[in-house]
């Protein structure tokens, strides 16, 4: 650092976010609720208020009164590195923002701090470094051939060339958790909903890039958003369906912000869509599930966007489902631990959080722990396996809907 030059910049942090640092009253509510602080064994550096305090100190050392009078005070690389580790040990679940008495928008604060650190050359963390390269090269983070996007489509599924509805499959459902894609496509077919898909024109939604602060790096997230929006426009679809909470959140919140424009189509999560159909009495159930089911709110669908009731409405209406709630639900839900790049960057921490969430479910003794997000399903399944709770099934609600519609999914092979 040259003498007289601040150790940090304010890039990616807005003027209001810098004010938010001074709004923290250190009441400690965020500490009580933070899932990663809890799962880390209460590592002090992971406490949200501690991160706010440290960045405020960084700001004061670099741009405060003292810095104006005597020049910026150097912040050591060790301090910044430690801070990076702590700020990346966060799933960006937003629980701290929900309970923040000062109303700080913590999700965006963490993401913007990360973006600042990426710009500075400190971030991202561990394997998260690969996201940018992979998405740039393959348009997905799984190093899969973009042309193979629709290879999962079974022969019985009909996908239209053009339709009012477009199913945005997402990388995880199309390349990994294919059961989710199978179920969604077959349910739509069964209900007589014509839909199209983007196929090889689909890019990763870039949720992973944005959550890990890499959204401004080489403009990839913006390019991907533009490519997706233009490809959707070409199909003429006006209603875009999502079965992935991460893609849904990114499309409805991040794409308009990245592109600086309103999207010319409606973004709908499959749970909202199904709720609407059930209310219109357009779903004829064919089978009874006969299971006790609880529901885990994905952060990206719940706290980030406010969709709490539609998945519950769907589950409540599936024949044979006895729906029960866990203690921590809706805006107070406990994160599954997979978000914010933690699953890729710090998998042990992600697993620790997942175990706690699975224990929340086990207290209610359900047959199925359901969710509406492939990342939640993956991490909760890992948590279940780690706890040895083999009797607990972890499943997406769209799969349960498929079952109740008499749709077989046995032919789906996941890799």
């Amino acid at each position: 650092m040259a003498k007289g030059t601040p150790s940090i910049t304010c890039d990616n942090l807005t003027a209001v976010q810098l004010m938010e640092l001074d709004a923290c009253t250190r009441c400690g509510e965020c500490v009580k609720w933070c899932p990663t602080y809890d799962a880390s064994g209460q590592e002090p550096g992971l406490a949200p208020r501690d991160k706010i305090l440290r960045w405020r100190e960084f700001m004061n050392k670099s741009y405060g009164l003292r810095a104006r009078l005597f020049g910026p005070k150097e912040i050591s690389d060790e301090e910044i590195d430690l801070f990076k580790t702590d700020v990346y040990s966060c799933t960006t679940c937003g629980m701290c923002g929900t309970v923040c008495e000062s109303g700080i928008n913590t999700i965006e604060l963490w993401e913007c701090m990360r973006a600042n650190l990426v710009e500075r050359g400190n971030g991202p963390y561990g394997k998260q470094n690969m996201f940018l390269k992979l998405i740039t090269e393959y348009h997905n983070p799984y190093m899969m051939d973009p042309k193979a996007r629709l290879d999962w489509v079974p022969p019985d599924v009909t996908i239209a060339d053009k339709a009012e509805y477009l199913y945005f499959g997402g990388c995880t459902a199309e390349y990994r958790q294919k059961k989710l894609a199978f179920a969604t496509a077959r349910v739509l077919n069964k209900l007589g909903i014509d839909f199209c898909m983007l196929g090889e024109d689909e890019w990763c939604c870039c949720s992973a890039l944005i959550r890990t602060g890499q959204h401004e790096k080489e403009e990839i997230a913006r390019r991907a958003a533009r490519a997706n929006v233009e490809a959707i426009k070409k199909t003429g679809a006006t209603k875009i369906l999502y079965a992935c909470a991460g893609c849904y959140r990114t499309s409805i919140v991040d794409w308009p912000r990245l592109l600086g424009e309103e999207l010319p189509f409606e973004i709908i999560h499959i749970a909202e869509f199904l709720e609407d159909l059930i209310k219109q009495d357009k779903i004829k159930w064919e089978a009874s599930v006969d299971k006790t089911v609880t529901y885990h709110d994905p952060c990206h669908l719940g706290r980030h966007v406010g969709i709490y009731d539609p998945p519950r409405y769907v589950l409540d209406n599936i024949p044979g489902v006895k729906f029960i709630e866990m203690d921590r639900i809706k805006e107070n839900q406990r994160c599954c631990g997979a978000g914010g790049g933690v699953k890729a960057g710090i998998p042990d921490l992600a697993l620790g959080v997942a175990e706690t969430r699975v224990q929340d479910a086990l207290k209610k003794n359900p047959d199925i722990l359901s969710s509406a997000c492939p990342f939640c399903k993956r991490n909760l399944s890992d948590g279940r396996d780690s706890l040895g709770a083999k009797e607990l099934e972890v499943e997406d609600i769209i799969v349960l809907v498929a079952e109740a519609l008499g749709i077989p999914l046995d032919d789906c092979v996941e890799t």
Binding site: V16, D22, Y63, S102, N105
Partner: protein, 254 residues
């Protein structure tokens, strides 16, 4: 000229108090400009580059936040002002005891400020020759509400001190940033009660003779001006400005 707002005697004049008050306000304004300039180093929008560190940038960005629509959370400014800023609903949801503590401090502090400002206003009128209300009479009229809200403030401060001392997780997480705020409040409240007690010969005077009242009141006014105005931008007291603005910018929060 006699100064009515709690002091008497020729040694401390209205002019002196005005000078001290303006010094406090000047320190406050200077600190606020430094803070807003610091905030003004931030970008004007999501993902943007650092700005030049001007309070104009901060004000423009703040206004842009007020105008933008939230995806799922967002409520009218009036609702936010009443429920989240004045009634502090977000604290009540989390911890009723902490809400009671904070609301008593907030109500006590703000009402005493308003009462003091009212007294000051009528003194100014008196000074320029408008005799709408005699300042001496007004001081007596305001004595009762001053006492009531002083005790309300005292209740809040006592709870705050109790929490910091006796609730383990609160005590263990306390740092100087927190302690200085509370220490300032304690000094302001205690000096206020003691100076008033000396003046009136009441319980809080602890038997100190009346001639000590002017310097005691003077000391109380000085520490009040310091902690309640001048020191705000340089300490945790900044939250009295930054927190309401944050809640407004985020439309009531998540």
């Amino acid at each position: 000229m006699e100064y009515y707002s709690g002091l008497s005697g020729e040694a401390i004049s209205f002019g002196m108090m005005m000078i001290i008050s303006f010094i406090a306000l000047g320190i406050f304004a200077h600190g606020m400009i430094i803070n807003m300039n610091k905030w003004g180093f931030g970008a004007t929008g999501y993902g943007g580059r650092q700005s030049k560190g001007s309070f104009i940038v901060f004000l423009k960005t703040f206004i842009s936040y007020l105008r933008k629509e939230g995806v799922h959370h967002g409520q009218p400014i009036l609702t936010t002002l009443v429920l989240d800023i004045l009634l502090q609903r977000r604290i009540l949801r989390r911890n009723p005891l902490r809400w009671f503590m904070h609301i008593t401090i907030f109500v006590g502090w703000m009402t005493l400020f308003v009462l003091s400002f009212t007294m000051f206003f009528f003194e100014i009128l008196h000074l320029v020759g408008f005799e709408i209300l005699d300042p001496a009479s007004l001081r007596e009229m305001l004595a009762y509400p001053n006492t009531v809200f002083s005790y309300i403030l005292l209740v809040g401060v006592v709870i705050a001190v109790f929490r910091r001392l006796f609730i383990t997780d609160v005590r263990e997480s306390t740092i100087a940033y927190d302690s200085i705020l509370l220490l300032g409040l304690v000094i302001v409240v205690v000096t206020g009660f003691v100076s008033e007690g000396i003046r009136t010969g009441g319980f809080w005077g602890f038997g100190i003779e009346n001639p000590a009242a002017p310097p005691a009141a003077f000391f109380h006014v000085i520490v009040s001006l310091f902690f309640c105005i001048a020191y705000i931008p340089y300490s945790k007291y900044i939250h009295v400005i930054a927190t309401p603005l944050t809640i407004l910018a985020n439309k009531g929060g998540e």
